[in-house]
């Protein structure tokens, strides 16, 4: 890896974050609705009577949140705070800090989504590779197509179906939440087991919906990979089937799959919103959904920024690690 390659990738990383965060800054503000006014007016209307001085209160809070500033100044303040890693206060639940809300939600999302994605990736990649392998066990030929059918179902519909069947009708799993109601969080074994029990259906929804995609893409690459000369050579040398499969075929076609995995981990948030909302799971997805409903600009910005950082960092990591993983890329560059 050369210095110029590294600098180019870092520059691109910064550019992507800047453009994406600018879009995230502008989007909630495009309708020109004031979140402070919206919240206060709804509360006042439902609260009864007419709250005296509501207009002064709104003006004071607009000033406090900087919403009375011109858009360009709000933009500069946004970046100034960002450079200090200050995401500000939640507009809807002031004076809670956005960072505090993110810190509470992140472990739930990472725990659920990363694990589900890795399980789906592993099962799907292995299953897809075996589907293309002529000497695969027979059960794979029957089992994998079933999983592929399930993967055709959008993950949020899968989530609703699992909830209706296993939680509501059969009562095997809880209806939702991160843990049982009324349980004080701790690192005790019963609590951990309770969390795992609550995560089972959301994880299953993500795994069943995702495994087919990984399997199909892996199968496609495997079919092409099996035609390579080195596969024929390995078989001709009399190498055992398992060795040819794992060390020759799978290893070489895995790289693009790993790239996709890195990118999909970065895109976790977009997949998490609906699943977390269906299961009332206390992660970033639910936080994002609640923030959108309550017009909470600052929390929307915070969660979206996290997602942007995730995608950009994953892309950067893949860009930087690829030459190390694939010696062909480095040697080709050297040959030039």
């Amino acid at each position: 890896m050369t210095i110029s390659y590294l600098l180019k990738r870092l520059g691109f990383f910064v550019l992507v974050i800047w453009i994406a965060s600018t879009i995230i800054f502008l989007l909630p503000r495009l309708p020109e609705r004031n979140p402070v006014a919206e919240r206060m007016l709804e509360t006042a209307a439902r609260g009864g009577g007419v709250v005296v001085g509501l207009d002064e209160m709104m003006a004071a809070w607009n000033e406090k949140f900087g919403l009375d500033q011109p858009m360009w100044r709000q933009y500069l303040n946004f970046y100034k705070d960002l450079l200090h890693l200050d995401l500000g206060y939640s507009l809807a639940v002031f004076p809670t800090r956005v960072s505090a809300m993110l810190v509470r939600a992140i472990p739930w999302s990472i725990g659920l989504l990363v694990v589900s994605t890795l399980i789906a990736f592993t099962l799907g990649s292995l299953g897809g590779a075996l589907l293309a392998w002529p000497k695969a066990p027979r059960f794979v030929k029957y089992f994998m197509p079933l999983l592929l059918c399930l993967s055709a179902i959008p993950f949020y519909l899968m989530a609703i179906a699992l909830l209706a069947l296993f939680a509501f009708t059969l009562g095997i799993f809880p209806l939702g939440g991160g843990h049982a109601g009324g349980v004080v969080s701790s690192l005790s074994l019963p609590f951990i087991l309770d969390v795992l029990r609550h995560a089972t259906l959301p994880a299953l929804a993500l795994v069943l919906s995702g495994v087919g995609w990984w399997a199909l893409s892996m199968r496609g690459m495997m079919v092409i990979g099996l035609k390579e000369d080195y596969i024929t050579f390995g078989e001709a040398k009399g190498l055992r089937g398992k060795r040819v499969f794992f060390r020759y075929a799978l290893r070489n076609v895995l790289l693009p799959q790993v790239t996709s995995l890195a990118l999909s981990l970065g895109l976790l948030l977009s997949g998490s919103v609906l699943v977390e909302v269906v299961f009332n799971y206390p992660g970033l997805g639910t936080l994002f959904y609640t923030a959108i409903k309550s017009f909470d600009y600052t929390v929307i910005n915070g969660v979206a920024l996290l997602s942007i950082l995730g995608v950009a960092t994953a892309t950067l990591a893949v860009d930087l690690l690829y030459p190390l993983l694939d010696p062909r890329i480095t040697s080709q560059r050297r040959m030039k």
Binding site: L54, L163, G176, G181, T286
Partner: protein, 492 residues
């Protein structure tokens, strides 16, 4: 409960409150008159940042601590409703009294008041906050509650209260059917009937009978920005009123399980006495009458004619087109109203946009459907919503949305503000006010708002109902939860 008694002076400019002896905060510090005085001064001095602070700044000159158990509040203007409005009435009104010994060293605007390990927040109730997450609050019973120790009230049998966030009504319904929760928030009639059918242990305030709940204090109405044409015309507003069919609203929007409304306040018995008192006025100005002929007569009398598609156009040939703004919570009411209006020749549509409350307040929504809350006991609260002091030009945020001004109406409402609850003069003043309000029709009452909260009797009994309405069952209302908790007994 904390207050023992209160009284006003003759002209309602001074309010003296006596506190019950023995009241304590949950950290053991005595609750005294100093806490009430401190809270009022804190709100007054930090206006307009804190909720109700601008109100307190407007009304309260000062609060004097006479002794530990007596506080005298000196008002800037006579206000016989100050005690009820700010210190007694529940629902979602009334301000919280804070402990002086904790808040006096804090910036009230940014103080989070949350340190569970340290015992914050402190309160005077029988429960303490044990845990809070973004989706759940847990409150645990305090065995050392002052009221049980002095023999004033027993400890509730409920040892833990859990509030859980739910994504939507389907989750609420599933949770109560599976006995995972004891109570939930509102469900629409169709979903409520599913719940009642699937879990026989679940009932409502009205048991298993319609309306499956009770009337809330927040009726639904159609409002206008009366500064803007064509709704600056009382005739236009009446023409629209005659075009709305309350039967359609009851059948299609309220699913046959609700009641339309002809009054600007909730149909509570004390308030309905004022409604019945003006029966003669209501004959002349029949709110809620569906009459397409009368609607058409008014429009023709104003110079409108119908175009080739049957819609009203003005003398310049411009169609009377408008989009009714509303909120998701009003479900099908806007759709039904629009259908009625289109049948009557108004080119109407509706939308439920993000930021709709701001649209109501700025007057950008020239015609809208929403709710308003005001009166509980007498008509003043709802009538005050139409006072012209709230009228601001279109584009400016107004806290009451009607933008209707009538100086004589204002004078009557101001006079009513200085008259106490139950004073017979209120009847006469109400009549005078409605003699002005009715011909003008600044808003069109549409429907009562219902709270339909399913109640699960699997684990607990003693919930309120129509035969024993000791409180309402909206557990999030300030005055509702404690009376319920005192009455609940384990079912098994």
């Amino acid at each position: 409960m904390i207050g023992e008694s209160y009284h006003y002076n003759e002209d309602f400019t001074e309010l003296t409150i006596k506190i019950r002896p023995g009241v304590e905060w949950s950290d053991g510090v005595a609750f005294t008159a100093r806490d009430i005085a401190f809270t009022l001064h804190m709100l007054r001095d930090n206006a307009p940042f804190l909720r109700w602070s601008a109100d307190i700044e407007a009304w309260v000159k000062e609060a004097q601590v006479i002794d530990d158990l007596t506080v005298k509040i000196i008002l800037n203007e006579p206000n016989p409703r100050f005690m009820a409005h700010y210190l007694m009435d529940g629902f979602v009104k009334a301000l919280w009294i804070v402990p002086e010994h904790i808040w006096k060293d804090q910036d009230p605007v940014s103080f989070t008041n949350l340190d569970i390990a340290g015992g914050w927040p402190v309160g005077t109730g029988p429960y303490r906050l044990a845990q809070v997450t973004d989706t759940e609050f847990i409150y645990d019973l305090r065995e050392d509650w002052w009221a049980s120790e002095i023999g004033f009230k027993p400890l509730p049998r409920v040892e833990r209260i859990i509030y859980r966030l739910a994504a939507d009504e389907t989750m609420l319904a599933m949770a109560i059917i599976k006995n995972e929760v004891d109570m939930t928030g509102d469900l629409p009639p169709a979903l409520m009937m599913e719940v009642l059918e699937k879990n026989p242990k679940v009932s409502t305030f009205s048991y298993h009978e319609p309306p499956f709940g009770y009337i809330d204090w927040w009726p639904t109405y159609m409002g206008f920005n009366i500064l803007e044409p064509p709704f600056d015309s009382a005739e236009m507003r009446w023409a629209i009123s005659y075009a709305i069919n309350p039967d359609d609203i009851e059948v299609y929007a309220l699913e046959g399980y609700g009641k339309t409304s002809k009054v600007i306040f909730p149909e509570y018995p004390p308030l309905m006495e004022y409604y019945y008192d003006i029966a003669d006025l209501l004959e002349e100005y029949p709110i809620g009458e569906f009459n397409l002929e009368k609607s058409a007569d008014i429009m023709l009398g104003q110079g409108y004619v119908k175009d080739g598609e049957g819609f009203w156009v003005d003398p310049d040939g411009e169609r009377i087109s408008f989009v009714i703004a509303s909120h998701l919570i009003f479900r099908e009411i806007p759709a039904v109203v629009v259908a009625n209006l289109r049948d009557a020749g108004f080119d109407a549509a509706f939308h439920k946009p993000v930021g709709v409350w701001e649209m109501f307040a700025t007057g950008e929504a020239r015609i809208y459907i929403t709710g308003h809350a005001g009166s509980l006991r007498d008509p003043w609260g709802s009538l005050d919503l139409f006072h012209s002091r709230f009228v601001l030009p279109t584009g400016t945020l107004a806290t009451s949305f009607y933008r209707w001004a009538n100086p004589e109406f204002d004078r009557i409402v101001d006079e009513m503000a200085g008259v106490g609850f139950g004073d017979p003069r209120v009847f006469d003043l109400h009549r005078q006010a409605m003699e002005i309000w009715l011909p003008e029709l600044p808003c069109i009452p549409l429907a009562n708002w219902y709270h339909r909260n399913p109640i699960n009797h699997t684990y607990w009994t003693g919930f309120p109902n129509v035969d024993d309405p000791y409180t309402n069952d909206a557990f999030w209302h300030k005055q509702a939860l404690m009376p319920m908790l005192w009455r609940l007994e384990p079912a098994k």
